[in-house]
């Protein structure tokens, strides 16, 4: 039989098989900011992956002839107090940024999923206990939480990942639980129960897929936050240890010279700001694309 309402139908099809480029081309018209932000974020990602080929110098190569040199043909973004090329350090720094951002969000999302799912599916004391645990994480801003953690675990990039990831469990768990409660009340879950589908299977096939998807969208939005917190940790000297080319660390190192050689802090600072803004716009765009309510209003 013929399909009545094609408008809904082929929207569904297109959603499922998007080649990124075609998707971007279609979006450029409608949402230029989203496309620009996506391109910038991808450029950073590219820089992180291909840093040794893209960067003009090694991250820790010290040029004794160019200490605190202003931007020039040899050093496009200038050098720092050790004569290290800022552009190269920023490029290598993207590796830390993405490593920490992605890993900690994965930890946060996984932990949040487990706790949120458990809290959403249980009643009574178990649920109460889990939610108070989540409240405890949420009570402190993620930065303070991470600082507390680092002070226990000690500095180092892996510790930063654990600390930031743990601090993110709270907000993820909250949204997952809300989603679980909402999905659980849907008729299709009840219908499966009526057919005798057992509980684990209902969770696995019916609840989980409907929760994981919004969680993934949420995760893209939270990457920016994770990066910001990890940079703040490094800035405070609690995160990545020198001489690693971490952006937070670089901003902190340049702080002493901020009035005479502003580019030492300025270059990594600008890179951080640019990446965070871009990631936020991308995250919002992704959410808008997949949230049927927002999409309907466009």
């Amino acid at each position: 039989m013929a399909i009545r309402d094609l408008s809904g139908a082929d929207r569904g099809v297109r959603l499922r098989a998007p080649t990124l480029l075609r998707f971007l081309a279609r979006q450029l018209d409608a949402r230029p900011f989203f496309v620009i932000a996506t391109v910038i974020s991808l450029a950073f990602l590219f820089a992180a992956i291909f840093a040794p080929w893209v960067a003009p110098y090694a991250p820790n190569f010290q040029d004794p002839d160019a200490l605190m040199a202003p931007p020039s043909a040899a050093h496009w973004c200038g050098t720092d107090s050790f004569g290290q090329d800022l552009l190269s350090r920023v490029i290598f720094g993207t590796r830390y940024v993405f490593l920490i951002g992605f890993s900690s969000v994965v930890i946060g999302a996984a932990g949040g999923l487990a706790i949120g799912l458990a809290a959403g599916l249980t009643h009574g004391a178990v649920e109460w206990g889990l939610m108070r645990f989540v409240d405890a994480i949420l009570a402190l801003p993620s930065l303070i939480m991470a600082i507390a953690f680092i002070s226990i675990l000690g500095p180092g990039i892996d510790k930063v990942i654990y600390a930031v990831g743990f601090a993110m469990i709270g907000p993820f768990a909250r949204t997952v639980r809300a989603d679980v409660l909402q999905v659980r009340a849907q008729a299709f879950v009840e219908a499966a129960g009526l057919m005798g589908v057992d509980r684990l299977r209902i969770i696995w096939r019916h609840i989980l897929p409907n929760v994981v998807f919004p969680l993934a969208v949420q995760a893209t939005i939270r990457i920016a936050e994770a990066i910001l917190v990890s940079s703040a940790l490094s800035f405070l000297g609690l995160g990545v240890v020198p001489p690693a080319p971490d952006w937070g660390l670089m901003i902190s190192e340049g702080r002493a010279f901020i009035s005479i050689v502003p580019w030492i802090s300025g270059v990594p600072g600008a890179a951080l700001a640019l990446l965070l803004i871009s990631l936020s716009i991308v995250g919002d765009g992704v959410r808008e694309q997949f949230d049927p309510k927002l999409r309907a209003n466009r």
Binding site: A191, G196, R205
Partner: protein, 327 residues
């Protein structure tokens, strides 16, 4: 059919919802109000029978179904499935209940997981009850789809890619997948195109005849009730006010409410009939007497003091009215 084994029995079922007034009343100054969604429901559905449940929205039809299926706990009375309390079925009985009884929801789209393809949706009860080998699943789903008039390639589509009528068909195919003996449907054809509705009604009727299905069908369309169901139960404000063989009830309604419903259905080229005044009230803190008295053209003094029970008339029909239309 009156001697076949009863599948469902509702024995004086009551369902009262406590309505929280919210805000300050939580502090306990006033007790929560009682909403009587079902009040003294007695109903038997026998094997091979087809029962239509009709009434305005808010009369308690969906609640009755939910109690019947054990999805909502009744406040009082008993809901029996093949003689056993639905809430406390033994594992064996529960398994047979899950396989033999299938439900078609009022909102078919909401009853299908949007992230599963039709193949998995229809295949779910088949897998659950291990009705065939995994390798045969696709053929079996295709056969079910064909039965509801859909091409086999529908199996690879998600509910979001199907129109309203098609989603209903998939929901019906899914209900049929476990080879049920009883189908319970809540407004399964309302809100559809006349052509789609007619196609689905014929489908359901065909299944009824071929497979000897027992059917419990909620509808607000009396013509649909008479097309599909041998028996009818008319509900008003949580009570069954009239029940009997569909054709007889619709030809000679005994309850003024049944007649009002009949008059309100549109008929070709007849002027719009004199309408029933007012709207169905909320079943909160009901006054004594007949619930229909406020809108009933025949209401007399005694109607406001005496609540009429569902009683058998001399014509072997059951009606809850002090002044039924026997003339």
């Amino acid at each position: 059919m009156s001697d076949a084994a009863p599948i469902f029995r509702l024995l004086d079922v009551e369902k009262v919802y406590q309505i929280d007034r919210g805000g300050w009343s939580r502090l306990g100054r006033r007790p929560p109000r009682q909403l009587a969604a079902l009040d003294g429901i007695r109903l038997t559905v026998r094997a091979g029978d087809s029962v239509a449940l009709v009434g305005e929205s808010g009369s308690g039809k969906s609640t009755l179904l939910r109690v019947l299926l054990g999805l909502t706990e009744s406040s009082d009375g008993r809901a029996l499935y093949r003689g056993d309390d639905i809430e406390t079925l033994t594992d064996d009985k529960r398994r047979s209940f899950q396989r033999d009884v299938a439900m078609i929801y009022q909102d078919a789209r909401a009853s299908l997981n949007p992230r599963l393809k039709a193949l998995d949706l229809i295949g779910e009860p088949i897998r659950q009850h291990a009705l065939c080998r995994e390798s045969e699943l696709r053929d079996r789903v295709a056969a079910l789809l064909a039965r509801v008039g859909m091409p086999a390639d529908t199996a690879d589509r998600y509910p979001g890619q199907l129109s309203g009528g098609q989603v209903r068909r998939v929901a019906i195919a899914r209900a049929l997948a476990s080879e049920p003996k009883v189908i319970v449907a809540d407004e399964a054809v309302s809100g559809l195109d006349v052509s789609t509705q007619a196609q689905l009604l014929n489908l359901l009727r065909g299944l009824q005849h071929e497979m000897g299905l027992t059917l419990m069908f909620i509808t607000h369309d009396l013509a649909v009730a008479s097309y599909l169901c041998r028996r009818i139960a008319v509900m008003y404000l949580g009570r069954i006010v009239e029940t009997g063989p569909t054709k007889e009830v619709l030809r000679h309604p005994l309850h003024p409410y049944t007649r009002a419903l009949l008059n309100a259905s549109p008929r070709f080229f007849e002027p719009i009939a004199e309408t029933l005044p007012g709207e169905i009230p909320s079943p909160i803190d009901l006054p004594p007497g007949c619930r229909f008295a406020g809108r009933c053209p025949r209401a007399a003094q005694d109607c406001r003091t005496h609540e009429p029970p569902l009683a058998t008339t001399h014509t072997k029909r059951e009606v809850a009215c002090l002044h039924p239309l026997i003339d």
